[in-house]
């Protein structure tokens, strides 16, 4: 069991030494091939200008967004956002359309391109190690990290800790906690000494990305009903008009007598 109400990670790019132990730990814990890892580390090389040179390493990982775009996009609802943070994927529902990969702004979900129809090709992404966190342990990647570049805990506390760290070393950090508000907030928070763009992170608005498409989707049913009603009315109107036109033409053809008759009958 766990007391944490909203699970989250904090990644501190200044502490990462590019040892990639987290990748190995995740692969071992979750039995994943190394080339399909759920967490990947990229050395970004040396940035800046002499003499102020910096090197950075970024650990990419599912952000466990508060408003997950993968979940919004998946047609069959294979994703779930748990109230306490984790965004998880259910292979039993997935049809393999890969729309979630398109939708995720961080390019997180991965697909089995090497599996045929017998094995079945699925999506894979970080699960937040439920088998560990719900047993009071840290996720495998976090526990392995030798420098505490990856930390795990309550989201609010981690945000507080991050801001405290920035306040304590304003010269070392950029004054921003990536993920606090991005895309409506994420559960993977990032501290950095180089601009977040250099870490390869997209610049995202504070409103969730999927807001626009979800609004459009909300309008679908009312629109369909309204449009159907309009079309029905139009076709009924045109039909009635056609009938009237046909009648009057018949009358013209049959001469005045018919016209008189019609008038009388009216």
């Amino acid at each position: 069991m766990t007391d944490i109400k909203h699970h989250a990670y904090l990644f501190d790019a200044t502490r990462c030494i590019d040892c990639r132990a987290c990748m190995v730990a995740c692969s071992v814990e979750n039995n994943i091939d190394m080339d399909k890892t759920r967490i990947w580390v990229a050395g970004l090389g040396v940035t800046g200008e002499y003499p102020i040179l910096q090197r950075g390493t970024m650990v990419y990982h599912c952000m466990h967004c508060e408003h997950p775009d993968c979940m919004s996009a998946c047609p069959v609802g294979a994703y779930t956002k748990a109230e306490d943070g984790p965004v998880t994927y259910n292979p039993d529902l997935c049809i393999g359309c890969r729309y979630c990969m398109n939708a995720c702004p961080f390019g997180v979900p991965h697909f089995d391109y090497d599996k045929g129809i017998v094995d079945g090709a699925f999506i894979d992404k970080c699960t937040f190690c439920p088998q560990r966190i719900y047993n009071g342990q840290e996720p495998a990647c976090v526990q392995t990290c030798p420098t505490d570049a990856l930390e795990y805990g309550e989201r609010d506390e981690l945000i507080k800790r991050a801001h405290e760290r920035i306040a304590a070393h304003p010269d070392r950090y950029i004054d921003h906690v990536y993920g606090e508000f991005e895309n409506g907030g994420t559960s993977y928070l990032i501290l950095s000494h180089v601009p977040f763009k250099d870490l390869g992170l997209p610049e995202l608005p504070e409103t969730p990305i999927n807001e626009v498409s979800e609004k459009v989707m909300e309008m679908t049913i009312p629109f369909a009903l309204g449009w159907g009603a309009v079309l029905t009315a139009v076709s009924a109107g045109v039909a009635a008009y056609d009938k009237k036109l046909a009648l009057s033409k018949v009358e013209v053809k049959n001469g005045k007598s018919a016209e008189k008759k019609a008038e009388e009958s009216k």
Binding site: D35, W40, A42, L44, Y60, M71, S72, A73, C74, P75, V76, G77, L93, C94, I95, G96, C97, R98, Y99, M101, N102, P105, F106, G107, H110, F111, D112, Y113, D114, G116, I117, V118, G120, A121, F122, I123, L199, G200, E203, L204, I209, N210, V212, S213, V216, M217, T220, F223, A224, W227, G228, L231, T232, V234, S235, V238, A239, D242, A246, K253
Partner: protein, 409 residues
């Protein structure tokens, strides 16, 4: 007015069907490889480019070129402009086959093709793709119903059934138009979830409206194209006077689309990108010029609307331009997160370029569609207006109804 030459049956099996069969065979081999060894074995799709040629061509293009069906059904049944009846059946058939092709192509593209029906029972209400899936499946059913009289009429015993369907067709026609409106526009909504990936020249909240507006022009052009081609191939008369009317509507439909498109860019303040985005600006202008401006001018010239050759040329130009738009929106203008950072080289390809087998699958499916159209048009009364119904309504009214086509059924 009409040139009616009886179709020499069984004679016209020439090079075209042979080539089509060959292309289908290649696609079948590729598809087999894909099912055995995975999508990666035949395509260049990767973690960074999960959607490629298949989605742009099979889904986006396939759906939009099938929009003639609902346009004609709406015109003939809802607006009751009966003179377009000769164009109705071929358009409905094109749409029907078009959507079947989309569905077949998806069976290759999906990771779990056997689960395609999951979309019918597991609904995620926020997913645009779900709406498209449901609409396409339902619309396929509607099209089957709309087209069924053609098949039934072929057999004298089933005339009654054909008549029955014809009598209760209205609800299906209306449903078909609603479903088409929904999913033609929703294909645009698919991209709404990638504002930071799709270039701002194309990403706009009104993408669904733009998609629907351009689908109308594509539908009109497709009807012109398919009538022209089949009149050549089957050596039957061409309804030039009808096509001329469609051609006259094209500049209006395209004009509305143009105003919407540039109006949105102006309001969003994205006009600057028109000249500053390098290849993206170029693609944008290519699509506008070929798909909108040139056709608007072309079809505004009276002479071009009455000549079969000019009609065909104009339709092809329009289609090329508007299909380029679909490719732009779904592929060329989509930039996935910087692969340098996100996808270390061992995890996938950084660039995407469709492989030969990938394209071969789509071409094979397309060939099957053309083949099916040819066969159905040959053995079923596709190119005849529904005589009895037309007569029923018109004969009593106008004395001057054109004589029914001498039978080649």
């Amino acid at each position: 007015m009409k040139l009616n030459i009886t179709l020499p049956k069984f004679l016209r099996i020439g090079t075209l069907p042979l080539v089509l069969i060959l292309l289908m065979a290649i696609a079948a081999v590729v598809a087999f490889t894909r099912y055995a060894f995975g999508i990666g074995a035949i395509s260049d799709l990767s973690y960074s480019y999960p959607w490629g040629f298949w989605i742009s061509f099979d889904l986006f293009t396939g759906v939009v070129i099938s929009s003639g069906g609902f346009l004609m059904a709406g015109t003939v049944y809802i607006l009751r402009i009966k003179e377009f009846e000769p164009l109705l059946r071929p358009s409905v058939l094109t749409a029907f086959l078009g959507y079947i092709m989309v569905a077949v192509a998806l069976l290759v593209d999906l990771g779990q093709p056997l689960r395609i029906w999951y979309m019918m029972i597991h609904w995620n209400h926020t997913s645009v793709l779900l709406e498209i899936g449901i609409c396409v499946m339902s619309y396929l059913t509607v099209l089957a119903i709309e087209f069924s009289p053609v098949v039934l009429e072929r057999f004298p015993k089933l005339h009654k059934a054909a008549h029955l369907i014809h009598r209760y067709i209205m609800p299906f026609v209306i449903l078909g138009v609603v479903l088409s409106t929904l999913h033609q526009s929703s294909l645009g909504s698919l991209l709404l979830i990638q504002p930071q990936k799709l270039h701002p020249l194309w990403w706009t909240p009104i993408l669904p409206i733009l998609f629907f507006a351009s689908a109308i022009s594509v539908g009109l052009s497709m009807i012109i194209l398919e009538s022209s081609l089949s009149s050549r191939y089957f050596q039957r008369g061409l309804e030039t006077h009808l096509l001329a009317k469609l051609a006259k509507a094209l500049p209006i439909a395209l004009g509305v689309y143009l105003v919407l498109k540039f109006g949105e860019l102006a309001i969003a303040g994205d006009l600057g990108y028109l000249f500053t985005s390098g290849i993206m600006s170029l693609l944008f202008w290519a699509e506008i010029l070929i798909g909108v401006l040139i056709p608007m001018i072309w079809f505004s010239i009276e002479k071009n609307r009455t000549s079969p050759n000019a009609l065909l040329t104009g339709a092809i130009i329009t289609l090329l331009g508007l299909i380029l738009n679909r490719f732009n929106v779904s592929w060329f203008a989509v930039k996935h997160p910087d692969p340098l950072f996100y996808v270390p080289t061992f995890m996938g390809n950084v660039d995407y370029f469709p492989t030969f087998p990938e394209v071969a699958v789509s071409i094979g499916i397309f060939s099957a569609g053309i083949m099916a159209f040819g066969l159905l048009a040959k053995y079923f009364p596709v190119f005849e207006a529904e005589h009895h119904h037309v007569e029923e309504v018109h004969e009593t009214v106008h004395g001057l109804h054109p004589a029914p086509t001498p039978g080649d059924d």
